[in-house]
């Protein structure tokens, strides 16, 4: 190819423009004619001997080409022909300055993002949008000699992106125009549309002046395609998710085709965003795909064809679980932008629009931005002789927002554990809880917290070994500190540390869960992958650990006593809540008997994604007998062990149909056991009454041993746990699955008026609380529900029949008929050496001395 001098190139461009005008060609026709002539001249130039085509050679070629050709008058100004001044002004204003200004404005204020949709949710979007004014600047400043492939590519890309954003704002153009005419505002949303028009015009101008229109057009198509691909990469997954979500919300068959497609592929962030839109919870604006599907409602509403509709948040959250297998509130709420820096910090609108409609309610619900758990401390004492543990979990919540918030969470306690102490710090002073019936404590909390907006904390039981904690208000730019005391027996030699399974607050990644454990014998703390042993600490043993956030949220932390005798001994304690003639409570072990031969349990296995990682463990633990396996995959599917090994666990599966089927089968078989292996079930039941009917009617009621293999809330358990047939399997092992229940030590309780001659050692009065738990929750207890509830309240226990509430003033307690707990009578983690041990040593020494004297 020949080289062309700049002057020759420039002259050719001028000639072609003049020739097209002379022939009366405009627009695309002019472009095509110039292209044809240029191609011809290029071919002609190839015939010339000169290596470089200068102005002189070009003039010769043009003379041959054009019979009416007149050589150009030498130009005094070598700069390329420029656009008329007014067009240049509009090109720079609408194609560069305004788009850049509106991008900066939106990035800083998030104005559109807080009202309609977030047009620049990520740095990639910001980069993409910034390329429109950037490329337009480059095109406006480029000379005619710029390679057409680059200018075409730039023009196409700029046009593609600006057209997309312009189209996004088209549905509200009538609102913008009305606001502009009526109030003088609303220009912002018109800017993307103007930018799209101007980008097209700039590209067209470059096409008309380019020396290679074909190449330019070709490159422009590639630029458009590149913009389309970039937008597809950014918005394609979200759009796919939104479209299928929309279909899934309208389809009624189970499982719907749209749900299946979403399980195959989805954008989790888009699904999560949808959970925070709609008619419940917050009123956050949508994302780009959401806007693409919803924005048509604005012009339709303006024309009176439709009403603005919002999605059913509850259904969307349910679908989030069905698709991902995770509760929607197990993830941080969708961030408004990028998290850090100017764009993350300045978020003036979003928070004000965030409304928590669940305050004082029964569900944990939406995650609240800027509400965090900032401190977490657990102090525990292991009573080896009594085979129980007591721990106190102190939690500090901080609210960085502008309105007071309620912190809510569900906490899973150790097996058979119950909350036995509740403390709230009011004005820096610890205030103990009042324990009473669930109805009474809930009524007091709702009035004080929600109506009077004062300081209470409420703890109620919602599922087996699971409590709901509600604290309100966590004050604006302030903190709220609470403490839960937990009493639980050892299962074997182990005591599972409590953990949060559902929450509406964040936990910073830097938070460390400070654990202090002590006991009168050695022990260890075991996590999923790590283990730490206690060290001697004076006459006792202790252990200190800092557990990383993820460690105490997901991994079970097991506290295990070492060196415990396999055969437990009798122990006794002084029960200060009992009458004088029953003052001393004795617990004696019942010798274990070989389990009676029972029918093999029906094993219900949750088909959700959370179970995938545990499949091998389940297969190992499954008994070899003739157990019926039911896969809970939204239906009840009977499978074999081999089929189970091939099952692909995906999404979140409704376990209710399978559980219902299992209960029917068990009833038909005379009430055999059911084992339910499951992950979270965070969505409400489709037909709770049908399930409750099966549990309430008939005589052959089965027992259901449930084993949560992945942490998370479980609405199904919350529904059926009060029926009394649900019990917790503490471990996934062959024995538990064969029997349908865990093999636990059985105890015999009796009382005495005096401590003389009591068998075994005296132990902590927590022993009396274990007795009280049995009394309150046993289905075979002779007492009425009211009497059992009174026992729970007297022994300061949160049970299915009793709850705990801390109020602010004595007047509030009196008004609600509640009695505040006495701090001196509340359980606490003893100092080392514990008083009971010291007392034991003293009593033993005294008894030994007395015996020696008698013998003497």
């Amino acid at each position: 190819m020949k080289n062309w001098t700049t002057q020759a190139e420039q002259r050719l461009t001028e000639y072609l423009a003049e020739r097209a005008t002379r022939e009366g060609f405009t627009g695309e026709d002019a472009v095509e004619l110039k292209e044809d002539l240029r191609r011809h001249i290029h071919e002609e130039s190839q015939q010339l001997p000169a290596e470089t085509i200068s102005l002189m050679q070009l003039e010769q070629l043009l003379g041959k080409l054009d019979a009416g050709y007149r050589p150009a008058v030498p130009a005094s100004d070598s700069r390329p022909a420029r656009l008329p001044l007014r067009w240049r002004f509009w090109s720079w204003t609408a194609g560069v300055v305004l788009p850049l200004a509106v991008l900066l404005f939106e990035a800083i204020t998030r104005f559109c993002g807080g009202v309609f949709f977030d047009p620049v949710p990520t740095w990639w979007h910001i980069l993409l949008v910034a390329m429109v004014p950037g490329l337009n600047v480059w095109l406006l400043r480029s000379r005619p000699g710029t390679p057409s492939r680059w200018s075409g590519l730039a023009a196409g890309f700029s046009l593609g992106v600006s057209l997309f954003y312009g189209a996004l704002f088209l549905p509200i153009v009538h609102l913008s125009l009305f606001a502009l005419l009526a109030f003088g505002i609303g220009f912002l949303s018109l800017i993307p549309i103007l930018a799209a028009i101007q980008s097209w015009w700039i590209g067209r101008s470059k096409l008309l002046e380019t020396s290679e229109p074909t190449r330019f057009r070709h490159a422009r198509r590639w630029g458009l395609a590149a913009a389309g691909l970039a937008l597809l990469a950014l918005e394609g997954p979200g759009l796919w998710t939104r479209v299928n979500l929309q279909l899934a919300l309208t389809e009624h068959q189970t499982p719907s085709a749209a749900l299946t497609r979403l399980r195959w592929f989805h954008s989790e962030s888009s699904l999560l965003k949808a959970c925070y839109e709609g008619n419940r919870g917050t009123s956050m604006a949508t994302d780009i795909p959401g806007w693409m599907l919803r924005s048509w409602q604005f012009p339709a509403a303006a024309l009176g064809l439709n009403r603005l509709q919002t999605a059913d948040s509850q259904r969307v959250r349910e679908l989030f679980f069905r698709v991902t297998g995770k509760p929607f509130n197990s993830l941080p709420p969708p961030s408004t932008r990028l998290g850090t820096g100017m764009m993350g910090r300045i978020d003036p609108l979003a928070e004000d629009f965030e409304f928590d409609s669940h305050t004082g309610g029964d569900s944990v619900a939406v995650r609240i931005k800027q509400l965090d758990l900032t401190e977490s401390r657990f102090d525990g004492h292991l009573y080896g002789d009594a085979r129980l543990g007591y721990g106190e979990w102190t939690l500090v919540f901080a609210n960085g927002g502008r309105v007071a918030r309620e912190a809510r969470c569900q906490i899973q306690l150790p097996v058979d554990g119950r909350v036995s102490r509740l403390t709230l710090w009011v004005n820096g002073e610890p205030q103990e809880a009042a324990f009473s019936t669930v109805a009474k404590v809930k009524a007091a909390y709702r009035e004080i917290a929600v109506v009077q907006q004062r300081d209470p904390v409420l703890v109620t039981m919602v599922a087996p070994d699971t409590v709901m904690v509600q604290c309100f208000p966590v004050p604006t730019a302030g903190t709220m500190k609470i403490r839960l005391g937990i009493t639980a027996p050892l299962t074997g030699a182990s005591w599972d540390l409590p953990r949060i399974i559902e929450r509406n607050f964040g936990i910073p990644a830097t938070l460390e869960h400070a654990v202090w454990l002590q006991g009168n014998r050695s022990f260890s703390l075991t996590a999923e992958t790590d283990s730490q042993s206690s060290t001697p600490d004076g006459p006792a043993h202790s252990l200190s650990a800092a557990i990383h956030r993820d460690g105490f949220l997901t991994d079970p932390l097991v506290w295990s006593a070492t060196g415990l005798s396999p055969t437990p001994e009798s122990v006794w304690c002084e029960d200060s809540h009992a009458t004088p003639d029953e003052r001393f409570l004795i617990r004696e072990p019942i010798a274990a008997t070989p389990p009676a031969a029972t029918t093999p349990p029906i094993v219900v296995i949750d088909g959700s994604a959370a179970m995938a990682a545990i499949k091998d463990r389940i297969l190992e633990a499954l008994p070899a007998g003739q157990s019926i396996l039911l896969l809970a995959d939204d239906t009840a599917r009977k499978i074999t062990r081999e089929e189970l090994s091939k099952v692909r666990f995906s999404g979140g599966r409704d376990n209710e149909p399978a559980l219902r089927e299992a209960i029917r089968l068990a009833k038909a078989a005379g009430g055999g056991p059911i084992v339910w292996l499951h992950g979270p079930q965070p969505v409400p039941l489709a037909q709770p009454e049908a399930l409750l009917q099966l549990l309430e009617r008939g005589s052959n009621l089965p027992s259901i041993g449930e084993c949560a293999l992945a942490p998370g809330p479980n609405r199904l358990m919350e529904t059926i746990y009060r029926s009394g047939i649900l019990h917790r399997l503490d471990r996934l092992d062959n024995g538990a699955l064969s029997q349908g229940r865990s093999t636990r030590q059985a105890w015999k309780w009796r009382r005495a008026a005096s401590a003389d001659g009591l068998p075994g050692k005296q132990v902590s009065d927590h022993l009396a609380r274990l007795w009280a738990i049995e009394q309150v929750e046993s289905n075979h207890a002779p007492d009425t529900a009211a009497a059992r509830s009174a026992i729970g309240a007297r022994y300061q226990l949160v049970t299915p029949l009793s709850g705990a509430v801390v109020l602010e003033t004595r007047e509030q307690y009196d008004r609600h008929g509640l009695t505040q707990g006495d701090p001196s009578a509340s359980p606490q983690v003893p100092p080392i050496p514990e008083p009971s041990s010291a007392m034991l040593i003293l009593i033993t020494l005294t008894a030994a001395l007395a015996r020696r004297r008698r013998a003497a």
């Binding site: 190819m1 020739r19 022939e23 060609f25 026709d29 095509e32 004619l33 292209e35 044809d36 002539l37 240029r38 191609r39 011809h40 290029h42 071919e43 190839q46 041959k64 080409l65 054009d66 019979a67 009416g68 290679e212 074909t214 190449r215 070709h218």
Partner: protein
């Protein structure tokens, strides 16, 4: 005496105007005829057309004609990338273009025959009416 615009006793300007009109009509026929037979690279087509005796147009004048024929749907084009410069544009007559070319050619042949026949008629008339001018 002849004026400067008069050669051999007729007006040169008038002759040139007539040839322009003639070429305009015939050029369309030439183009469509060439493109009916096969596909042509634009540059080669232009070179072939200007080489036709009597066509006598500047090379650059053919491209506007081609653009017009394409707009009218008589000619189609396609681009082929070239390593040696701009993409090459190839032309081919459409079905309509080929039909028109055939019709134009038939008409042109008929017209030529008509012109030739007119000479014979003139001669015959001269023989029938003595005293009129002989043909040669």
């Amino acid at each position: 005496m002849a004026t400067p615009n008069t050669v051999n006793g007729f007006s040169r300007e008038m002759f040139e105007n007539w040839t322009v009109q003639m070429r305009k009509g015939v050029l369309d026929l030439c183009i469509l005829k060439a493109l009916s037979a096969r596909e042509w690279y634009g540059y080669a087509l232009v070179k072939a057309l200007v080489a036709v005796p009597g066509v006598g147009v500047a090379e650059g004048s053919i491209y506007p004609l081609l653009a017009r024929l394409r707009r009218q749907g008589l000619v189609t084009t396609r681009l082929e990338e070239s390593n040696e410069g701009p993409a090459r544009k190839y032309y081919l007559a459409t079905t309509e273009g080929r039909a028109l070319a055939e019709e134009m050619e038939a008409y042109f042949a008929e017209m030529l025959r008509g012109v030739a026949g007119l000479q014979a008629a003139v001669n015959a008339e001269a023989d029938r009416l003595p005293g009129t001018l002989p043909t040669k």
